[in-house]
């Protein structure tokens, strides 16, 4: 009898808990459906429409995608974005990993150095962009002033189409703090006994880094690679502030800037939705490719 009462009570508690759980999940589900799923599906539909936001969408089939295929500016932005990603992505991974390895050393005051190197990533990128405008100023910028004292004639970083993208890739390094912290956390997870075993085998710092630390860190490197792909392909705010309209001569006109202009400046929302879906599928495809390629090179603890 007592047992049965207990069972009933347990059941009712568990029912109450599931109700509460469903409630919380339901609220999330409601938000997800309204603010994410519906816009996602709607944007897919609009990508096949002529849609200016204010008038009802008119079905145009694949005209937007066909238009993009023929659109030279679209291809220019793809080329710019790919070039930028090819510079900023490996550089970002390398800088963040190198910093993390250095900041993982056992020396006094390390937490202070970690804070110093992480701080820049807390600053809003738009304020940084304004600051960098003056640092990279070809005429009066501090960077060229320093180079001048070293008898080097610095380039026109912001005004020369050949230098504008490398400049952006360089200053993107200020945002590597987040990736660096993730590497640092990963480095704490490298088992001590493996390093001790390597020590016994007479391995030096580089041998230990190459054969112990990096393989153990490979899932974290992979995670940062995926996040890096997503970030660099969506680069927007800094070039939007530093290089209005992708000047000089559209050398910094990136994919998302053209998407934004189509949506909000040219009022061609259908065209912009088609661009959004192409970007989404590209990122999805690249991530899937990275997953496939990485199968053989990544070591997970459970494997």
């Amino acid at each position: 009898m007592i047992g049965s009462q207990q069972t009933t009570r347990v059941r009712s508690v568990s029912r109450a808990e599931s109700r509460a759980a469903m409630l919380f999940v339901g609220l999330w589900g409601f938000g997800f459906t309204i603010f994410l799923l519906y816009p996602l599906l709607a944007s897919f539909y609009y990508s096949f429409c002529d849609y200016s936001v204010l008038r009802s969408p008119i079905w145009v089939g694949t005209a937007n995608y066909h238009g993009l295929w023929k659109d030279e500016v679209f291809w220019t932005t793809i080329k710019n974005t790919a070039t930028y990603a090819a510079m900023a992505l490996p550089l970002g991974l390398l800088v963040a990993l190198s910093l993390a390895l250095l900041l993982n050393a056992k020396v006094p005051g390390m937490s202070l150095f970690r804070t110093i190197f992480f701080l820049p990533s807390l600053l809003p990128m738009v304020s940084l962009a304004i600051l960098w405008l003056w640092v990279f100023n070809g005429e009066h910028g501090i960077l060229n002033e320093v180079l001048r004292r070293l008898h080097i004639n610095g380039p026109n970083w912001l005004g020369d189409p050949a230098w504008s993208k490398p400049t952006l890739a360089l200053l993107a390094m200020w945002g590597t703090g987040n990736a660096m912290v993730i590497y640092l956390a990963g480095l704490q997870g490298v088992p001590l006994h493996l390093n001790e075993a390597a020590n016994l085998d007479g391995a030096g710092w580089w041998a230990k880094t190459r054969h112990v630390t990096l393989p153990m860190l490979s899932p974290v490197i992979f995670f940062n690679l995926i996040m890096g792909i997503i970030d660099t392909l969506q680069v927007f705010s800094v070039p939007y502030v530093m290089f209005p309209n992708g000047t000089p001569a559209r050398s910094t006109y990136f994919y998302t800037m053209y998407l934004f202009d189509n949506a909000f400046i040219y009022h061609k929302m259908g065209y912009a939705c088609a661009m959004g879906w192409i970007l989404f599928l590209t990122i999805l495809g690249l991530t899937w490719m990275a997953l496939k390629i990485s199968d053989r090179h990544i070591y997970y603890g459970g494997n």
């Binding site: 509460a20 409630l23 609220l27 002529d50 200016s52 936001v53 204010l54 008038r55 008119i58 145009v60 238009g67 030279e72 100023n137 070809g138 005429e139 009066h140 026109n156 912001l158 005004g159 020369d160 189409p161 309209n245 000047t247 000089p248 001569a249 559209r250 202009d261 909000f264 400046i265 040219y266 009022h267």
Partner: protein
């Protein structure tokens, strides 16, 4: 236990409160029996102060309507989205070149009936400003702050170069020669002082073809970006890059700030002459009060005296977005703003001329710009250049700016760059017309 039981009702209450409160915020407030008119405007700083004084004067002139003005960044896109969301402001302050695009998109209300009711018509305005508000037979906007442009020049740099500051250049050829006299650079080609730079301040790079008699379209259906006059104009632009070095000019320009700041090349007495708008006097007063400057009509090519008094005219405009809750009350404010008192208050505060034909003696006397008569006269010029009234103007503008960049960087010859613009925009224009046809806007 009590807490867990209370969470659900508390959440529901919060959601309901949020819905009620957001409704309360956007609903018309009628405290003191007044209807609240919401007005979004782009201006900040002294320009915002000027429009606020008009709003305050209107609010205190009657007791039925209260205008709430909000200074909004990126007002064009936000107005568009607010119209789409069904909660637009009652008045929005856009730019003159927005009118065709916003009208094509049904984002703004035609105002001719309200204009007729209040007796507002073309007789009141300088013709170019009234014409800009008209599109496809409708009045979609009313002028707020207009501008015309002129050559601004630094009298000290003129004197230093042995030129007479009272004799500004009349022709493009004279200006080029004077610019050479004023320019100082070192042995490496690094420019210290520059006489003139077609790319500065950069607002009218799209329309420099007009100086040589060119146009961007025929006003009806044909794009004319690569006309011989336009090619000639941009060949003139390229001549500066060839003479002084494309990278040197870019580096010089990049070294200085925009025309509102003391770091601007003209303000810092590093640029001898530039094309700029009526507002420049206000900016100089704040950023470089000791600068000795003058203004004169922009030069014309020696073989085209018919292009004298060329200037770029444009204006900020008031529109009533489609779906506005109080269009009649909003128009009552516009009627006040378009009166001589309202316009002179606004335009005096912003250092501009008024778009109205009638100007009071006090306006002329107290205006801070010593060349206000010149700018007003220029607004009447037969060579006024206004942005084309095309729904695809933002795209056309982006293409022209890109072509200007390519030409001044000597990446492409003027003909090559303008041929690309011609091809792209002809295609875009055809697509746009097809789109309007599909929507039933035109036949």
């Amino acid at each position: 236990m009590f807490l867990s039981k209370a969470i659900f009702p508390a959440l529901i209450c919060m959601v309901l409160f949020a819905i009620w409160d957001s409704e309360r915020i956007v609903s018309p407030r009628t405290d003191n029996g007044r209807v609240h008119v919401v007005y979004w405007e782009k201006w900040t700083d002294t320009e915002q102060v000027a429009i606020q004084s008009v709003v305050d004067a209107f609010n205190s002139s009657q007791d039925k309507i209260h205008v709430d003005m909000l200074s909004i960044g990126d007002v064009g896109s936000k107005t568009l989205l607010a119209v789409a969301g069904g909660e637009p402001p009652d008045i929005a302050g856009l730019w003159g070149e927005n009118i065709a695009q916003y009208a094509d998109d049904h984002a703004v209300l035609p105002l001719e009936e309200l204009c007729a009711e209040y007796g507002i018509n073309e007789d009141r305005f300088i013709p170019v400003y009234w014409q800009m508000c008209n599109y496809n037979g409708h009045v979609y906007a009313l002028p707020s702050a207009p501008h015309s442009t002129a050559l601004h020049y630094n009298r000290t740099l003129f004197a230093n170069a042995g030129l007479d500051p009272d004799k500004p250049p009349k022709t493009i050829e004279e200006m080029d020669s004077m610019a050479e006299h004023m320019t100082k650079s070192d042995a490496q080609g690094h420019i210290d002082v520059l006489g003139f730079l077609p790319a500065e301040p950069g607002d009218w790079g799209w329309g420099l073809g007009n100086i040589f008699g060119g146009k961007l379209w025929d006003g009806k259906s044909k794009i004319t970006a690569n006309s011989p006059e336009n090619i000639r104009a941009y060949t003139w632009v390229a001549s500066y890059s060839k003479k002084y070095g494309a990278q040197q000019l870019r580096s010089f320009r990049g070294g200085y700030g925009n025309d509102v700041t003391p770091q601007n090349a003209f303000m810092a007495s590093k640029l001898g002459m530039e094309l700029n708008g009526v507002w420049m006097s206000n900016y100089i007063h704040v950023a470089a009060p000791k600068l000795k400057w003058s203004a004169a009509p922009f030069p014309y090519p020696a073989d085209r005296p018919d292009m004298a008094n060329i200037n770029y005219t444009n204006q900020d405009v008031f529109v009533i977005p489609r779906g506005a809750k109080h269009p009649k009350e909003a128009f009552a404010f516009l009627n006040f703003a378009e009166s001589q008192k309202g316009m002179e208050l606004l335009c005096m505060g912003q250092g501009k001329h008024t778009p109205l034909k009638n100007v009071s003696a006090g306006f002329w006397k107290n205006h801070p710009n010593p060349y206000i008569h010149l700018f007003t006269d220029l607004a009447y010029s037969k060579n006024d250049v206004t942005p084309p009234k095309m729904g695809i103007w933002p795209e056309y503008l982006a293409e022209m700016n890109n072509a200007f960049d390519q030409i001044s960087l000597l990446q492409k010859t003027p003909k090559e760059a303008l041929d690309i613009v011609q091809e792209r925009m002809t295609e875009k224009w055809t697509e746009h017309l097809e789109r309007l046809r599909a929507r039933g806007e035109i036949h």
